[in-house]
Each structure stands twice: as structure tokens, then as C-alpha cells.
Amino acid sequence: MDQRVDRGDAALNWLARWETRFKDSGAALWIFPLLLLLAFFFVPMGSILSIMFSRTDPIDLGQIWRPLGFTIWQAGLSTVLTLAAGLPAAYVFSRFTFPGKGFMRTFTMLPFILPTVVTAAGFNALLGPRGWINLALMEIMGTSFPPIDFLNTFTAILVAHVFYNIAIVIRVVGSAWTQLDPRLEQSAQVLGASSSRTFREITLPLLKRPILVSALLVFLFDFTSFGVVLMLGGPNFSTIEVSIYTQALSLLNLRMAGLLTLLQLGCTIGITVLFSKASSNQAVPLFPRLQGEGTHAPKTWVQKGAILCVVLFLFLLQVLPLGALAARSVTRLEADRGQRGESQTGLTLDFYRELFVNRQQSYFYVPPVQALLNSLFYAGVTTIISTAAGTLLAYAFVRKPRVRHWLDPLVMLPFGASAVTLGLGFIVTFNRPPIEVGSFPFLIPIAHSLIAMPFVMRTVQPALGSIPDSLRQSAAVLGASPRQVWWNVELQIIRRALLAGAIFAFTISLGEFGATSFISSPRNPTLPVAIYRYLSQPGAMNYGQAMAMATILIIVCGISIWLLEKLQGEKHANA
């Protein structure tokens, strides 16, 4: 009897000990995100590993070195070009005020969150065989073949990468440049340095760190580029990411796909480590200063010319393709196949109207409006999951800084591991009878959530960390219970960041292509997948509908970016 009581006490003690341990570790905050990661990232990665060791598919080392070499080559060249184009823009944005600057700043961010299919569609609408420029040239030259061959070239990949990532250079380097104390440069000039000497000896060394940080980030994005290479580079070019896709889905060689995945994971982890090292002590050479001290209206003609060049360049690079796309979605230029009689050219809303009509009786045909609804549903679920998980993580990291050390890199992994890897992992793990990946509607938002979670966490965490303890304590002393402190103080202060994180998550999900192209079922595509499908099918009507859907995505992304900028702007105004 006594023994039993003892044992009962021991069990209770044990439970109590674990309860305190659980509370001390803040596990209630991070257990849900961690489980999400374990079940939907580490288990799939494990499956890929086990497949590599259990399968006997043939391994062709050439199929590994060639994509690796090309991936490094194109990413390196793209990074150099992005820096070359981005640094002058960063200079102009950080040093001068000019009309339309706010709009341009916001607009440069738009491509950054734009789905790759839309980018592809944009360049297609401008420079493709049926793009504006080729149509115009054909009209002028009277030929029936498009004179400019832009799609499926290496140039197309490079241009699209600059289009995408120039915003990173402008933002990262530009903000560091704005914060540079102008007195440093003035001192150098007083000490006898010419303008160019000052730039070389003072400005450039001080900006070395932000330039490195932005270059690594651009390189990472270019390294894992998927949609751009697939859709603009065409069949002749294959990065590791694209190889994984073709090995897994077209050649069904899962062993090769697994090997490539591991290789890519190793590379991206390496880049990510370098990136976090470079960005950790970034703020060293910067000094506190008055807001806007170094920014002024252009004075000389050279300065005005520089601004004009940058604005014109950004217009050609970014505004023109998107404008071409939007214009193409409302213009009928040629007769449809299967349409009898005289076709009318001119403005039309037919492509938008057609989105709601099921004309083809094909098995794989899905009305575009269904794709839009799918996308909205997935984006909604993603927003809920990733905002909840990301916010919990932010709380865990702020309250228990030690947890951050080991959990932060784990959370960043799916982001660095690339979307295609994630999609492949889902296929090999969950696509077994009785489950069919496409039949489980929550796999897509879960994959999207893994990608969006680090963004939400990174957005919410600084806001949460900026709340001094004295604020919570003040509220408590004034009579606020812990729940009231959370509701009346913390939540109100992080509200904007939370909303920004949610918008981020929503937009990421809406445009995600890499993982979705693996796991969406043919009958239930998302909007980007549908656009891809329509683009690769012949016919003016298909082309026009792809343009219409892409335009819808641009508008949604544009609204998101505008909202994000507004939220950030208000935050700065408050600070």
C-alpha cells in the first residue's frame, strides 16, 4: 500500500518536474511550429534520403555536374548583372529626391513578390514570338516570322533574374546608403579627397557589407530559380532545381532527383550560413543621424541625367513587361483558331469573360475561375496557418532567446531548401495509397505555410522585440491582468507587423509555383499552375486567358505591395 502511494507520489513529482521544464522552455510556444516542420519537412526530406539508398535507378554523374555548373554560372552572372544595375539605382534612390520616387520605390518591389509565371508571361507579352515588339517588327518588315528570338535564350534568364532581384540591391544597399553619415564623406573632401577618391576610399568600403549581403541573397534566389529557367530558358537550360523536377516527374528517376536535392540543400545551406554571418554585424560603420540629412533634390545636370537614366532603365526593365502583359490581356490581335469568319482586332474583355466559361470538354480542362477560387482558398488557409505558427515562433524567440539559436536555422531550412525540393518530398512521402497527393487539399497550404512561416516570423519578431519590458510591467502595475496586457498592449503594438506578415503569407501562397506544380492535382490547379498550362497551349484564346489571369495576379500583388508599403510607412511615421 505504502509502496503504491510512493510510486504515485513519484509519478506526480515526475509530472510536476516535466511541467516546470515544459513551462521554462516555452515549449507551448514553439511545439506547434516544430511539429509542422517535423511532419512536413524533415519527414519528407528523410523519405528522399531513404529513396536514394533503397532505389537502384541509374546514376549519371554527367546529369549532376552539368546542371551544377550551369546553376553556379547563371547565378553568378545574374548576381553580377543585378549588382551592376542595382547599385546606380540604389545611389539615386538614397541620395536624391525626385517626382515619382515613392511610386518607383514601391513598383521595384512588385516583381519581387510576383509569381514567376507572371514574369514569364510579361516577357512573353513583350518579347515573345507573339509579343508586342515582334508583332510590330513583323508589321513593319512584312515578314511572317518573329525577327527577335528572346524566349528560350540565356539572355531571357539573365534579364528575368535582374527584373526579379534588383529590388533586393536597391532596398538593402539603398537603406544603408541613406543612413551613411554624410559628414564622413564631407570630412574626406575637406581632407583633400576628390569626389571619385571619396567614393573609392570612404563610401564603397563602408557599403561593402550591405553589398555583400544583398549579393548573397540575390545569388541564393538565382541559384534556386525554377519558374524563370523552366519557362523563359526553355528545354535547353537546366538548373539543379529544374533537373530535380524533370528527373522526378518526367524521367521518374527518384534516385537522381534525391541526389540532386541533397546537393542543392547542401549548397543553399552554405549560402544561407554565409548570408546570416554577413548580415549579423551589418550596422557597424553607420552612425545615428538626422532623417533625410543626406537626401536632396538634384542640382547639376549630371545628377538629373543620372536620375533620368535610372528611372528610364527601371521603366524598361520592370514597367514595360508588366504593362505589355496587361495591355495584351485586353487586346485581340489575331483570329482564333476554330473561329470562323472575320476576326476583329482591337480592345476586348473577351479573355476575362472567357475565364468563367467552360468551352473545352477536355478531361484536364479546368475553368480558370475555379483555379482562382482554389488559389484564394489555399492562400486563405496558408495565411491562417503561417501567421499563427510564425507569430508563435516570434514569441518563442523573443521570450526564450536560447530557443532561437537552434530553432531559427531549422525554420529557415524549407526556405533555403527550395520549393521544388519541398514538393518532391511531399510526393515521395504522402503519395502512397490510400492517399493521393492531389486528393488531400491541405497539403498545398501546408507546403506554402512552411515557405511563408519564416517571413511572418521575421516580420513579427522585431515588432515584438521592440516592446520594452517596462511597458508590460507598467500595464501590470496599472492593474492589467496578463491577458489584458496581451490584448491591450502587445497585440495593439504588433498589429501592423502581424497584418504585414499575413499579407506576405497570402501573397506568397497566391504566387507559389515550384512546390504547387508538384502537388496540385491536374483537376484542381492553382492560378499560377493554370497560367503555365494555358501559356504552353496553342491558340490566341488560351494565350489571352493566360494574360488575363496573370493580370489579375499582378493587380492582387500590386495591392499587397501597396498595403505593405503603407503599413511600413506608417510605422516609420510613428517611430
Binding site: P468, L471, Q473, V477, Q492, N574
Partner: protein, 359 residues
């Protein structure tokens, strides 16, 4: 202005607080009491444990041992938000997402006071701190001094039983600090709320407090009426901390009345703590007070020192001089009359000018 609960006496008692931080003692046996209409100032260098005492009283930290009693009731199990105390932080901790009026209203709102009542009370408190025109401003738009007033208004609005102020003026520049010291004192006095005021600034402590607790390394060295602490520091540390440096080593010659023998002669000395008994022949350090000294008389009188003026500095309302005493030690004195360098003077000490220190 009556005391906030109709004149009934309220009091806080702190008993034997102990606290360690990272295995080092932060507080060792802190005891004191504060009651209605009284302001106690905790004066000490940074790191002496002043703020920790406030945090323990507020319930933001738990002591390792000891207790806090409010009107005789142990507060150990009462969470912060139910204690009904006010605490003003050094950085004010105003809620950046709320307006001035909303900040002041916060405590009342948490107590479930009705909206109309809150509006009236907020108006009243803002008037009291001369900030009525700022009600709808954002707190982030306020200057340091304005923020300070709002922080005080916010702490006072819910009629706390006890008001605690943690270095409330430290973030302000000197001119503003001096201006606000007296205003702050008047506001606290008017409210009748017992207050604990933490500072490292002696001048501020003199102006604001009724009683003073000198804190050194987590221990209260001396706790008494403010004027008495400044006039009769009881230990060598307290005297040094208050800027006094004229020490003489000696031995107790007689205990009643107290006489001390030093290298510079025999002095009648003052015992700052009547509860403390000196033993004949035990070693003792005496403090020669630097201010209020009589420089007239002649050398034959008892308790008199010979001095040779070394340096003289004008300090606005007095002269500060270094004097070589009895050709052996150098001491500092303040005088309203000007003496010349090299002049021989007579330093006549009253019994209260020679304080026998307790350590």
C-alpha cells in the same frame, strides 16, 4: 486636499528582503516603512539594489526571502495587477499606440471604471499636471518633460495606495530636472499618497524626500529624516557618499559625554545613534563636518584646531577651502567669509561638528 481614502492612515512595511542575482547578493536584509503623506527616498549609486526593491514591492519580482506588507497584509500571493500601486519607470514606459488621454485612462479602464467617469478623472489629473491641452496628442510627439508629466498623471489617475518613482527625472536635462523636482514634490504631497522615490542624485533626494534611506550594496546604511541624514551621517561610507572627507582616526576616551582622542587632539564628539553604545578605548573614526563651522575664537578653547589655508575656491554662495590642520592632515571646509591662501585660522568645533562614526 485630503488623503485619498478619507484620511485613514495607510502604510507599507518591508521586512528583511533578501535577493540574489546570478549567485551574488543584491539585497541583504532590507527593512523600512512608509506611511500616508510621507515620501521616502532610496538614495544610492546605480547597482545598489534600489530599483529591485521597487520591483519587489510592485510584485514584478519575487524576493528570495523577506516580505512586503500593505496595511499589515502580506502581499506575497497578490499578483502585480491586483496590488493597486503606482510605479513610474525611468523611461516612463508610455504606451506608444495610445494617446495621452488613453494612456492616463489605462489604469482606470483596467479597473472597470465607467467611460463617463474615466473622462472626468482623466481631465482632472491632466489639469493637475498642467497638460490639459495635450489630451489628444500622441505620446511619441511629446518632449521629455511632457512625457514625464504624463507618466506621473498615468500613475496617479487610478488613485494608487502607494506611489513608486524610479529615477523619474534621470532622463531630463539638468535645468528641467531642477524645475520639475519641486513640482513633483508638491504633486505627491497634494495627493497624500505614501511615496517611495528612487534616485542617485543627492540634490533631488534633499528636495523631494521627507525621509531618506541610504543604500549601499543592497543594504540600508542609514534611514532617517532627510535633514538628519545629511547633518549626521552615521558611517564612513555614508559620509563619503554625501561628499564629506574630513576623517580622523582615534580611540574612545570617555563614553558619557563622548570624548575621543585623536592625533590632532581630544574632542567632545557626537553619537549619531543614541541606540549605539561606544566602549572605552575602542578604536573609532570621527568625521569633522565641513559646513557650518565657526572660524572665530582662539586656540586655547577646547575642540579647536589650528589651520593653514592652502587653497580657496569661490563657489557662488560660499568659499570652499583646503586647510592643513595641526600641520598634519588636510581637510576641506566651507565658509561664508573669504580667507587668504597662507592665512592661519582657528577652527572651533561644536560637539555636533565632530561625529563619531559607527563603523
Amino acid at each position: 486636499m485630503q488623503t485619498h481614502n478619507g484620511g485613514q492612515m495607510e502604510y507599507l512595511e518591508v521586512v528583511d528582503l533578501q535577493k540574489e542575482y546570478e549567485k551574488k547578493p543584491l539585497l541583504t536584509g532590507v527593512n523600512f516603512q512608509v506611511e500616508s503623506g510621507e515620501t521616502l527616498c532610496l538614495l544610492g549609486r546605480s547597482g545598489s539594489g534600489k530599483s529591485t526593491i521597487l520591483r519587489i514591492i510592485a510584485g514584478l519580482e519575487k524576493p528570495d526571502a523577506g516580505a512586503v506588507y500593505w496595511n499589515g497584509k502580506d502581499l506575497a500571493e497578490v499578483p502585480t495587477y491586483k496590488r493597486n500601486f503606482g510605479l513610474m519607470f525611468q523611461d516612463y514606459a508610455l504606451f506608444p499606440h495610445l494617446t495621452v488621454a488613453e494612456n492616463v485612462a489605462f489604469g482606470l479602464k483596467m479597473r472597470g471604471v465607467s467611460r463617463s467617469e474615466i473622462a472626468g478623472q482623466v481631465k482632472e489629473v491632466l489639469e493637475k499636471v498642467n497638460m490639459s491641452d495635450f489630451a489628444e496628442r500622441r505620446v511619441t510627439d511629446l518632449s521629455g518633460g511632457e512625457q514625464q508629466r504624463i507618466a506621473l498623471a498615468r500613475a496617479l489617475a487610478p488613485h494608487p495606495g502607494l506611489l513608486m518613482l524610479d529615477e523619474p527625472l534621470a532622463a531630463l536635462d539638468r535645468a528641467l530636472r531642477v524645475e520639475l523636482q519641486e513640482e513633483l514634490k508638491d504633486l505627491i504631497k497634494q495627493s497624500g499618497i505614501p511615496a517611495i522615490y528612487v534616485t542617485h542624485d543627492q540634490e533631488e533626494a534633499i528636495v523631494v524626500s521627507d525621509r531618506l534611506a541610504l543604500l549601499n550594496s543592497g543594504r540600508i546604511v542609514q534611514c532617517d529624516r532627510t535633514d538628519r541624514v545629511f547633518h549626521y551621517p552615521s558611517t564612513r561610507w555614508a559620509a563619503s557618499f554625501l561628499g564629506m572627507s574630513n576623517f580622523l582616526a582615534g580611540r574612545v576616551l570617555e563614553t558619557n559625554p563622548l570624548k575621543v582622542k585623536t592625533d590632532c587632539g581630544i574632542f567632545s564628539a557626537w553619537n549619531p545613534d543614541p541606540g549605539h553604545a561606544f566602549n572605552v578605548d575602542s578604536p573609532v573614526t570621527v568625521l569633522i563636518r565641513p559646513t557650518g563651522i565657526n572660524f572665530t575664537g582662539d586656540r586655547s578653547m577646547p575642540n579647536t584646531l589650528n589651520g593653514l589655508v592652502q587653497t580657496v575656491h569661490f563657489r557662488g554662495d560660499h568659499y570652499r577651502m583646503k586647510v592643513k590642520v595641526n600641520s598634519c592632515v588636510e581637510m576641506e571646509f566651507a565658509s561664508s567669509n573669504e580667507f587668504q591662501t597662507g592665512q592661519e585660522i582657528c577652527i572651533h568645533l561644536a560637539t555636533e561638528d565632530v561625529i563619531a562614526l559607527l563603523d
